[in-house]
């Protein structure tokens, strides 16, 4: 019944790299943000698994902070998307040139 910690690490690694792949390959900013959420969740899974392994609360509390940061990041990221991309335009991050200097 007991799941080895290595399995949790492997699962988190797979989810994290799926998120990395999504950020690198997809050009839709919404799906890129969702991929970032996937990566944050993979990190959270590791924190919770190791908190369980060592029976320490600190891991869970740090996972709580990560959830807060993810919420803040989603709010700000979506606000940037809404202000940057006009509704009638093609949504593609490569079209945004204003920060190229």
């Amino acid at each position: 019944m007991v799941v080895p910690i290595g399995d949790y690490v492997a699962l988190a690694a797979v989810i994290f790299f799926i998120g990395v792949f999504g950020v690198i390959v997809r050009r839709n900013p919404l799906i890129m943000l969702m991929s970032i959420e996937l990566m944050l969740n993979a990190g959270n899974l590791l924190l919770v698994a190791f908190a369980r392994l060592w029976l320490q609360n600190a891991g869970q509390i740090f996972a709580f902070i990560v959830i807060t940061v993810a919420a803040a990041e989603a709010a700000i990221g979506l606000a940037i998307i809404v202000t940057t991309f006009r509704p009638e335009r093609f949504v593609d991050v490569d079209d945004v040139r204003s920060l190229h200097g």
Binding site: V2, V25, A51, I65, T68, I76
Partner: protein, 194 residues
């Protein structure tokens, strides 16, 4: 053990669906499945509070925000554009790099000494690891500083979003004002005719 692998399959499958979905709405649905499965994983790891928070904050707040933005961006005349992928151009080097990193990590995990998470203790009682009472007590005593930092992060996020939204409103206002003026002129003309 079977539960873990079932959940792992759901997590990986929905994660893949998230990044390959053609439309962002499908990605949101896949992400919802992913977060729900992850909440169940948290519960099996006796993180009760985080399981509940995962459902409330992620599925309840963040995904609804995504759905709102998708609806807002696709409410114009044109349907929401899927957006081109870089997939055709850099698909092979990206896959090689990501799979190499993943393989190295799993190799390192396999070589590492194995420890197992202890079997789940009875839940819900104070003093039991991971119970909400235990978590709350730690949050408000030993770990008070991280909790305060959480409040600060949320405050900064609120201020940032208001700043961004305020800039957009300043752009929009003249147009809205013009529309109001036009409506008033038309109403006055109708009054004059009648």
């Amino acid at each position: 053990m079977i539960a873990f692998w079932t959940l792992a399959a759901i997590l990986i499958g929905s994660a893949v669906w998230t990044i390959v979905a053609a439309k962002p709405v499908y990605s949101v649905v896949a992400l919802l499945i992913n977060f729900a499965a992850l909440a169940v994983v948290y519960l099996t790891l006796s993180a009760e509070f985080l399981g509940v928070i995962q459902i409330i904050v992620y599925s309840g707040a963040i995904l609804v925000l995504f759905v709102f933005v998708i609806a807002l961006l696709s409410s114009g005349v044109a349907p929401f554009a899927i957006g081109p992928n870089r997939l055709p151009k850099i698909w092979i080097p990206t896959a090689v790099a990501v799979l190499a990193a993943l393989g190295f990590l799993i190799f390192a995990v396999a070589r590492a000494p194995q420890g197992s998470a202890p079997a789940t203790a009875p839940v819900g009682n104070q003093g039991v690891f991971g119970s909400i009472a235990d978590f709350g007590k730690a949050l408000f005593t030993v770990q008070l500083l991280p909790f305060e930092v959480t409040a600060l992060v949320l405050m900064v996020a609120v201020i940032g979003v208001i700043t961004l939204g305020g800039e957009q409103m300043r752009e929009v206002r003249p147009r809205a004002q013009a529309a109001t003026d036009r409506r008033m002129r038309e109403a006055i003309l109708r009054e004059g005719k009648g």
